[in-house]
Amino acid sequence: MRTAIYRSFVLTAIMLVIVGAAYPLAGWAFAQATFTHQADGSLGSNGSSLIGQPWNSGTSINPQWFNGRPDADNPLSVNGVAGESSAANLGPRSAVLVTSVRALIKEWRAVGVSPTPDLVTTSGSGIDPDISPLDARVQVPMVSKARHIPAARLYQLIAQQTRGPQWGFLGSSYVNVLSLNEALSTLRP
């Protein structure tokens, strides 16, 4: 009994050093030395992050841009402090979900878009930076009208910006909304 207690304390101390401190710090040092850009959040020179930045942040639909998926009612940051990432967690037969989807459909119809399921549902993280190519295509008439850019050029742009599935089969095809809009901003009517 007493040896078991003694050994428990000793092993705890040893393992706190090895797996509690040395492992994560060695990983951190390695990451910072070799993949600094990724390890720091893949921040671009203009201060944006293509990986972790959602396009929408509680703002309503802007027909000038391709819009992302709705915010899961959980602001990413409040008064300059990082907030919590979260899904909406509404069940498959939730009346709240029905109401919120109906409200979003109305918003989309007002700008002349017949929305896809992605555009009226929140994601698993609540900060999904991507939409599917289909979600982008249904917004083409809206953006085309607002910017006076021919629809064909926008479809072409979406095709250029479509990524994945990774290695041809891992995950789904997607378009990064921020990257798509950065490319869009360079197009002239």
């Binding site: 428990s8 705890t12 919590e84 899904a87 069940g91 029905v98």
Partner: protein, 563 residues
């Protein structure tokens, strides 16, 4: 098409893990892997243990319980004092005692149930020294216990089952550490963050919107989170967060790594008992269950979300998108969900609460089968061996002779121990769920109403008593009631199975081997696989069917109504 290729790649990857990681594990636990002996030897010297001296099952279990007690206390102290400790760039305050108790127990028991949002509650110090520490050790202890139980079945001619200290050290430094490090490198290369700096401000130059996003030492924690079937994420959104699980590749590697060790242990079993067919039989039973559940969940999630369809949006070929990330898609998310719930991992790349009724049914029932297909690191293996004892007992009753398993006579004591190990989880789930739905403190928890709210409660206790840790995220668990009852469920689910399994191993280790005769019930053929599956499904099914009928089943059947 890409889903089929993903499944094929997963099967091929797991076949390689089974063969090569399995052989490596055997070598590690037989003491033949020695490349880190400069680290290993001083540890044994400090511990004062002789690596060749083995323990009886009582000593092994006592060591495991003592070590667990000390580590859980240390973690609790770290959490409640984190405000005064370093590596806290966000100046987060101390964790409240009830939440700290629940969290410390949760990570100790390999559950990783989280009644908090990681990025807004835990300092980097707590994440590393408190939680990641347990992610390694709970997996190493589970792995060691599984090997100790297998030693009881193997005919080694001695009544001891191994040395707890040696097994734990070897599992950590030879298996979990190197594999996690390699996996961590891939995660960070793909875009998972790993920094000790605090949150950063990101700026959208097109719209002028500025946001603050949390960062942290994530990538390498992510590796052990998956590999050790832990599942406790750095961020609240867990593996759905783009900084934890950035790409299709990391999503795939997450599934592969959380399934790898549980699958490889069936190889270890086959090798150590000297009959590979016995290991293959167990693996086959696991694979059949897993395959059936993947089929059900991915089919269900490829259907339209009922609420979204009712509101008026349907698109051919687009499945349930609520709570799912675009880069993963519906079927891959469902595959991840089943991999995570059936391995007691509990990480989530999508919101399980928003799965369709049958998709949610697949996740919760996958846990209710006792986490044996393939189950958690180590715990899956020792739990399915308890089911195997029950199966040979039933087989023995049918043919009317004392059952044997691997040449060891299965008598009253063994059947009783296996019975306790198999029944303790359902008892904890049903009693605590019954308590929660009868008390006000319990019924205020769910976010959703009606049967879905009931499922949120049932899911919470199923997940915790199975040491899974995934959640129907709508439940508000950070209350004294759920923190304490949840911790009780997790402790029962861990030690209520682990101790009977070790006792069984000790009892079997002391028995002589009876040579197989004509009347011996064979345990390496399809008949036995069928019997084992029958026992697992009937025990789980009969116990939980009434509860499931009130939750996901009634939800699925009541079309056209919304709550």
């Amino acid at each position: 098409m890409s889903f089929a290729l993903t499944v094929i790649a997963l099967v091929v990857g797991l076949a390689l893990c089974w063969r090569f990681l399995g052989a490596y594990l055997v070598a590690v636990y037989e003491g033949r892997v020695r490349f880190l002996r400069f680290l290993e030897r001083p540890i044994y010297r400090l511990l004062g243990t002789n690596p060749d001296a083995e323990q009886s099952w009582q000593r092994y279990a006592l060591s495991a319980v003592m070590f667990s007690g000390v580590t859980v206390a240390v973690t609790y102290i770290f959490l409640v004092t984190q405000g005064h400790l370093p590596f806290n760039p966000q100046h987060l305050g101390n964790v409240t005692p009830a939440l700290a108790f629940n969290t410390a127990v949760s990570f100790l028991t390999n559950t990783n149930w989280q009644n908090y949002g990681g990025e807004t509650t835990m300092s980097y110090f707590s994440q590393m020294m408190g939680l990641e520490f347990h992610q390694f050790l709970s997996a190493a202890v589970g792995l060691g216990v599984a090997v100790a139980v297998i030693r009881g079945f193997a005919n080694r001619g001695k009544p001891t089952i191994g040395n707890f200290w040696v097994d734990t050290v070897r599992g950590t430094i030879y298996v979990l550490l190197p594999l996690s490090f390699v996996l961590g490198i891939i995660f960070v290369a793909q875009g998972a963050v790993d920094t000790l700096g605090g949150p950063v401000t990101i700026h959208n130059s097109l719209t002028g919107v500025t946001q603050v996003i949390a960062l942290g030492p994530v990538a390498f924690m992510e590796a052990i989170k998956q590999l050790g079937t832990n599942g406790g994420g750095f961020f609240n959104a867990n593996s759905a967060h783009p900084f934890e699980n950035p790409t299709g590749l990391t999503n795939f590697l997450s599934m592969l790594s959380l399934l790898s060790i549980p699958v490889a242990l069936t190889y270890v079993f086959g090798r150590m008992v000297g009959k590979m067919r016995e290991g293959v039989a167990v693996l086959l039973a696991m694979t059949i269950l897993f395959g059936a559940w993947v089929g059900l969940a991915s089919y269900a999630e490829h259907q339209t979300n009922p609420a979204v369809a009712h509101a008026g949006v349907t698109y051919a070929g687009v499945g349930n998108t609520e709570g799912k990330e675009t880069r993963f898609g519906d079927t891959s998310s469902a595959l991840f969900g089943v991999s995570s719930t059936m391995t007691s991992t509990g990480s989530a790349d999508s919101a399980y609460d928003s799965y369709t009724p049958m998709g949610g049914f697949a996740l919760i029932s996958g846990m209710m089968l006792g986490e044996v297909s393939p189950g958690g690191v180590g715990s899956g293996m020792y739990t399915i061996l308890l089911f195997a004892i029950i199966a040979v007992f039933i087989g023995g009753l049918m043919i009317g002779r004392t059952p044997e398993y691997l040449g060891k006579k299965i008598q009253a004591r063994e059947v009783k121990l296996a019975g306790i190990g198999v029944l303790v989880m359902p008892l904890a789930v049903l009693i605590l769920t019954g308590l929660a739905v009868s008390l006000h403190a319990g019924t205020v928890g769910p976010l959703n109403g009606g049967p879905h709210g009931f499922t949120e409660i049932l899911y919470a206790f199923t997940s915790q008593a199975n040491n899974n840790g995934s959640a129907f995220g709508g439940l508000t668990g950070n209350t004294p009631f759920y923190n304490v009852t949840g911790a009780i469920a997790m402790l029962i689910g861990r030690f209520g199975v682990l101790i009977p399994a070790l006792a069984l191993a000790g009892s079997l280790a002391a028995k002589p081997v009876v040579p197989a005769g004509l009347g011996t019930f064979r345990t390496d053929n399809t008949m036995f696989v069928g019997l084992l599956l029958g026992v697992i499904v009937i025990v789980g099914g009969l116990t939980f069917f009434p509860a499931l009928a009130l939750g996901p089943l009634v939800e699925q059947l009541s079309h056209g109504r919304f709550w």
